[in-house]
Symmetry: C2
Subunit: 163 residues, 2 copies
């Protein structure tokens, strides 16, 4: 269903974005949710950037396009997109990124390069299982998992191998 974005490697990003938008439209239709122009534009802006985008980055882009927008405009769109699993919030960055596996059941695991800022989302089924097992030993009932790994991507690691 979803074409997996090649991690940290060059690819036709326009096609990438267009596919994400098409997928989003389908998902919203399924749920009878309205992917309005503002919501769709916010999703597109987020997808166009490989790096997570802050809410105010999105806002700046919208206003630069002549859209009369205020913080609530963006946050409301982001809430909607999160609700339908189209974007994820990266808590450690206060930023948002497009979901690579929209429509598929998954626990998002994010590899965040501290050098280039790119983010790769993995499904991480084994990780998810291990987390649920660990929580189970404490009789804890998990609902949402925040898993963000900061470090160096392959490219940046070879560029700057010496700390």
């Amino acid at each position: 269903m979803s074409t997996r974005a090649l991690p940290y490697r060059p690819h036709n990003h326009d096609a990438c974005v267009q596919q994400a938008l098409a997928s989003a439209r389908a998902i919203c239709q399924q749920h009878k949710a309205r992917l309005t122009p503002t919501r769709e534009r916010v999703l597109e802006l987020i997808w166009q950037s490989h790096k997570p985008l802050g809410a105010y980055d999105v806002l700046a882009e919208l206003t630069s396009e002549g859209h009369s927008a205020a913080p609530p405009t963006v946050y409301r769109a982001l809430d909607f997109l999160q609700q339908y699993g189209l974007v994820h919030r990266i808590a450690s960055l206060n930023a948002f990124t497009g979901c690579t596996y929209a429509g598929e059941q998954h626990t998002g695991m994010f590899l965040i390069c501290r050098a280039c800022g790119n983010v790769l989302e993995l499904r991480g089924i084994e990780v998810s299982t291990a987390i649920h097992n660990a929580a189970g030993t404490e009789a804890f009932h998990p609902e949402t998992i925040t898993l963000e790994v900061s470090g160096l991507c392959p490219g940046c690691k070879t560029e700057a191998p010496h700390e």
Copy 2:
């Protein structure tokens, strides 16, 4: 070395706190780091609460004690405490909690009850291994892992089993 706090169960919390402070003093001495009165008081305040404390919560407490404090006072103390592994920042809450395993090498995994607000820190070695394995398949070099699980603790789960 460290006495594991009994998860979500009653215990002598004063002793809990005193032990954490003693441990912190030892760790700082080892590293020739200065656990100044303000830093120690911030650590104590954070430990006294089982729930993660926001920076401004700490600040309010300090000022209520007559301490002339401003935001940087607290953030500097928190930076110091994080640097020496004495507290963790919970990114999904914008709050801070005392480290249960200070001085021990570990990847913090936090079980956060959305009902009562209590937080339990687990070491989660299997989880850590799974994360590193997953990152390895992408040739990613992990440095810091943010792993926060929100859900219901055993107590709150039985109280409100029906969503």
